[in-house]
């Protein structure tokens, strides 16, 4: 099992990577490819080992990178060594370093070691599991991995599913299936010119739900205006009574309710909608329930943290993103559903050139369940990841992130000059600087406006340090700084450094 030693070129002339161009009409010759793959393996390992040496976000302005590249397409081939040197000089320094342990913005995406190894093999095997026949392993391993994740998340075997590129696509698929569940026969008949839909259709989600739901409505011909945003309580959780009332009102007006989207871990504050209460409404109304747990889903791997997920087993569909908090490189989104046949009703087509002799067997062709025909072999990296860490190892890592966020929240709570602006159910803390003296003017809108400006300035200054990278949102109208732990490489020292930088910049800017 020991790898063959990699030959070190003795001089440049002996180095196939320095040969200018690739002759002939074929691919790189095997010797050159092997040498290049090893060189790149070292670049990869070097990058991850030294990623903290880069500023998380580079100090550059929009439009400054494109002029570094020739405006005209290259006619002649270049040597691999030259291309890799340009990669190091032009590409790496102009990246936002999502792999930097100080990346605490948005929700992190970790390119973990096992995930990267998976992508290397995926790229090489070049599978396209659109049909069983075009990739038997891609198809059947997807079934294995989807079920392993289902088990880990504690969901019943009535859930089946598939891997898609992003939560945007998973949610779009869910809402397309919901159209079929509502009996619209939308895949066949469309939504235009239908007397049965004269009063319109409706999708429901909280005012804090992710923009992907709105986008799915735009794409599916439902329209942004048909997404009814339900009010939230002071914890940013959907109000079930308001949901029930909205559905009743819409039904009375002849509108057709298609789906309810509930969120476990909203993007702004990671709030948790009351899933059980919403599921009861969905069941009573006979409306599709889609649960967006794209970010927070992996927390369900921890049995003692499943309170937030109570009732999600009643959902018709659930999205959880391995490329968020499950340490999988982009892209990998898991869509689970109890109603696989309705996904098929929404997307199945069998032209002759895709018909295979396998049709006679009960074969799964995953392209029948999604808008795209072509598909990447995403199961491979998940299989490698799940085996490398084991569910046990994944639980430990997620638990660690929950602990880091709880510690940061404690620091905020203990400091009278800072305030937390939302509960912390998972690994994201929402907060702002509010000097103790300012508390007296809490009801003063001008004060809130000054605090908005001050906090925007603090965040920008912290980000300019290059040591950490934070993002923001608005909660109850207030500029809110977010610190989201989810990068596998983040340690306590990075969170502590963020806190030190925040206080330093607040001290500088808040003193004025």
């Amino acid at each position: 099992m020991a790898p063959a030693p990699f030959p070190v070129p003795r001089s440049v002339s002996d180095d196939p990577l320095s040969a200018s161009g690739v002759p002939g009409r074929a691919d790189l010759d095997p010797r050159t490819f092997r040498a290049a793959a090893h060189r790149v393996a070292d670049l990869m390992a070097d990058y991850l080992e030294g990623v903290e040496d880069y500023p998380v976000f580079p100090a550059i302005e929009p439009g400054s990178i494109r002029p570094l590249f020739p405006a005209t397409a290259p006619e002649a081939p270049a040597a691999i060594a030259k291309i890799l040197a340009d990669y190091q000089a032009l590409v790496v320094p102009n990246a936002t370093h999502w792999q930097h342990p100080g990346f605490l913005a948005y929700f992190g995406t970790t390119a973990s070691g096992p995930g990267i190894l998976g992508e290397m093999l995926t790229a090489t095997l070049g599978q396209n599991p659109m049909l069983w026949r075009t990739s038997p392993i891609g198809t059947e391993l997807e079934g294995v991995v989807v079920d392993w994740l289902r088990q880990g998340l504690g969901l019943p075997p009535t859930f089946d599913g598939l891997l898609t590129d992003t939560a945007s696509t998973s949610t779009l698929i869910a809402l397309a299936a919901a159209r079929e569940a509502a009996g619209l026969d939308a895949a066949a008949e469309g939504l235009a010119g239908r007397p049965d839909l004269a009063a319109g259709v409706r999708v429901y989600a909280s005012a804090e739900a992710h923009s992907s739901i709105e986008k799915a409505c735009m794409t599916l011909g439902i329209g942004r205006a048909s997404l009814r945003k339900i009010q939230v309580n002071e914890r940013f959780e959907l109000d079930p009574a308001a949901l029930a009332a909205a559905i009743g009102e819409d039904r009375a007006a002849g509108r057709v309710p298609l789906a309810i989207v509930a969120t476990i871990g909203t993007t702004s504050s990671t709030s948790v909608d009351p899933i059980a209460a919403i599921a009861a409404i969905a069941v009573a109304e006979g409306v599709w329930l889609h649960v967006d747990a794209a970010y927070a889903g992996p927390v369900a791997l921890l049995p003692d943290r499943r309170a937030s997920f109570q009732g999600w087993e009643l959902a018709d569909s659930i999205v959880v993103n391995p490329h968020k908090w499950l340490f999988t490189p982009l892209d990998a989104s898991l869509l689970l559903t109890r109603r696989m046949e309705l996904l098929q009703a929404a997307f199945s087509l069998q032209p002759e050139y895709l018909r295979t002799i396998d049709r006679e067997a009960p074969v799964r062709d995953y392209s029948e369940y999604q808008p795209q025909l072509g598909r990447r072999f995403r199961a491979l990296k998940l299989w490698i990841l799940l085996r490398t860490f084991g569910l046990q190892g994944l639980r430990e890592r997620i638990d660690h992130h929950l602990a880091l966020a709880a510690e940061f929240a404690d620091w905020i709570d203990a400091d009278p000059d800072w305030e937390r602006l939302a509960p912390v159910p998972f690994s994201t803390v929402c907060f702002r600087f509010r000097p103790a003296g300012a508390a007296r003017h809490a009801a003063d809108p001008a004060m809130d406006s000054r605090l908005d400006e001050l906090n925007a300035g603090i965040m920008a200054a912290v980000n300019r340090s290059g040591e950490v990278f934070l993002s923001h949102t608005r909660l109850a109208g207030r500029f809110t700084i977010r610190l989201a732990v989810g990068n596998l490489r983040t340690e306590e020292r990075h969170v502590a450094r963020a806190w030190a930088l925040l206080r330093r910049e607040a001290g500088r800017l808040g003193a004025g």
Copy 2:
């Protein structure tokens, strides 16, 4: 520039990959990752070097792979060496080997050396160019590469565009933009319950157009029934007079024409719709024209082969798939358009948590132009590919494939027992076995049915050999074998071997 020598472990105990499990709460430690990346680099190089040793399609039945994997998710971590051994034993033998030079089915997807190196770096950098801020290099290099490809294809600078995952998505985006171009304000208002659409909407494509157009209509709420399939001539090309008549008829009935999809290189026969004539109709009618050149587009890199593309510069949008005939690993589809602002109208949303300070600059956030928010850094592999081969090298390779297909077509034409069932404008040959004696019964439907069965049997037998892999379609109702050249590793000997196998199996089966 010489790489550091990779240390060869002296014993198993010295090999970090044999350590059972990954301790702690972090990623693989740097030493283990580096060793694993080198081991995988060798697996990759070994695979590509020996891919011809595998049968192109494995001799397995649906459902036979899943039982090889444990039904329950792994709790404990496993050693990398064990996982890679299982990969070799369980994954590789059950793949359809798209990289085998005998893969002549569907349209090929080559995981070329430069493309694979690009995927390795993409996975490691972990960029998400959804916003400029989340990946300045991912955003600006996409602009560079899209424009390089535009230049190479000979399209004017009025075309801008983006990289998507698949042609299915590119076409869906084009049709969503077409809805906006038609003034429907569909993103905002949807398609249901609108008096202005009481008589319905229409999309037009030929009867030979790809299923992705039908699927886009299903997804977008347009509906399968609203895709009007226009008849083709005996060369499987869309009939412009029939198109014009259909639009006139629909307008008279109050239906709203949204888009025309014309194809350069249909999936079954690679026929070429008369683009210039169709463009004239689109302009006269004020209807969006989308050109599907997903497969054949790269032929436009060759200036002396641009006759097939004449008029495509008048299209509103064009799709060309680098992951088909431009040697790029899945996924990479290029969507070019003269009307970028209408893509934005169809998909733009700016929630607060995605608003960045860069909004004040004229910054491009690519997620505003597509249904998904998250995006892979696809420009990197294309940049490496374009530089490694140069446009010149790409032209030579495509030209070589055109020549191989022409040669195979000549063999078919010269043999009285075989017949070609469609013209060969590019690299795909459609044909069947028809023993010379059978020609006398050409008008006999029973004979066609017997030939269908015979040819299906020949194709299955050839595929069982494992040396080559062919797919089929139906043309004018007849079972048609397709041989599609597009794999960078395919040489003349593979095409010759396919021909020998076809004749051998025809001899065996046709003698009965």
